[in-house]
Subunit: 112 residues, 2 copies
DNA sequence: CGCCTATAGCTAGCATTGCTATATGTAGCG
DNA sequence: CGCTACATATAGCAATGCTAGCTATAGGCG
């Protein structure tokens, strides 16, 4: 998978993952990998900055936990985050429909 | 439509449009707009550099025409371009399938 | 104990890429 | 003559995901 393919859609994925319940960053990476059937194996350098961005935007809220001596930062969707996710789903639908339509074009039925 | 949504998929769209036959840049813009049902109305500052990029990559070949006193640069897919398009279609399929799967996740059927 | 792996987090800097803004020039209409 | 549509072009911006590198704990193995 070409890395830049994700550009502009990462936030939607992260919000969708967190919609299922609060998770910490490392777990988010696992969930994305499994939920995408292995297609997306996001590096930490992608996910952590993205989560920080989402928090700055007010879409998620974080708190520190300590589990088994390890520090964890658990992220949870805010109300604004849920609304943003709804908007992102709409964007994705129109976007993917349009791209699929264009990619489905074929030479022969030129109809011109 | 958030502008950056297209990032990483523009080349695929342009190649797909040119697959139907050679076109010049301005016409490509029209074809994309109509083929996407109005979703993508690409600015010239997006399309012309992208076409140049595709030519540098060897995916399209251009020639100058003059039609009605106006200079036109007509782009045509190369063999490499056709192959790249096939690859792009595969990328798009895996990509969109994975994103749709993740966005379809819902809180309740947590199954955990 | 020392080493490695898995877990868990962080950041600086890079490269790519699409967009905005601006520019040039022709054809045709009122 | 001025306006609009057609047609191409580029400089510079902003955003964003990735690479690479770093810190730190827990636990297994030799």
């Amino acid at each position: 998978m070409r890395p830049e393919a994700l550009k502009g859609h990462l936030d939607a994925l992260l919000l969708a993952v967190l919609e299922a319940g609060p998770q910490h960053g490392y777990a988010v990476i696992d969930t994305v990998r499994e939920g995408s059937g292995g297609t997306f194996d996001l590096p930490t350098g992608t996910v952590y900055p993205a989560l920080h961005r989402l928090e700055r935007s007010g879409f998620v809220h974080s708190r520190w936990d300590t589990v088994g001596g390890r520090r964890r930062r658990t992220y949870e969707l805010t109300l604004a985050g849920r609304q943003a996710l709804m908007a992102e789903r709409d964007v994705w639908d129109t976007f993917s429909t349009a791209v699929s339509a264009l990619l489905a074009r074929r030479p022969w039925p030129t109809t011109s």
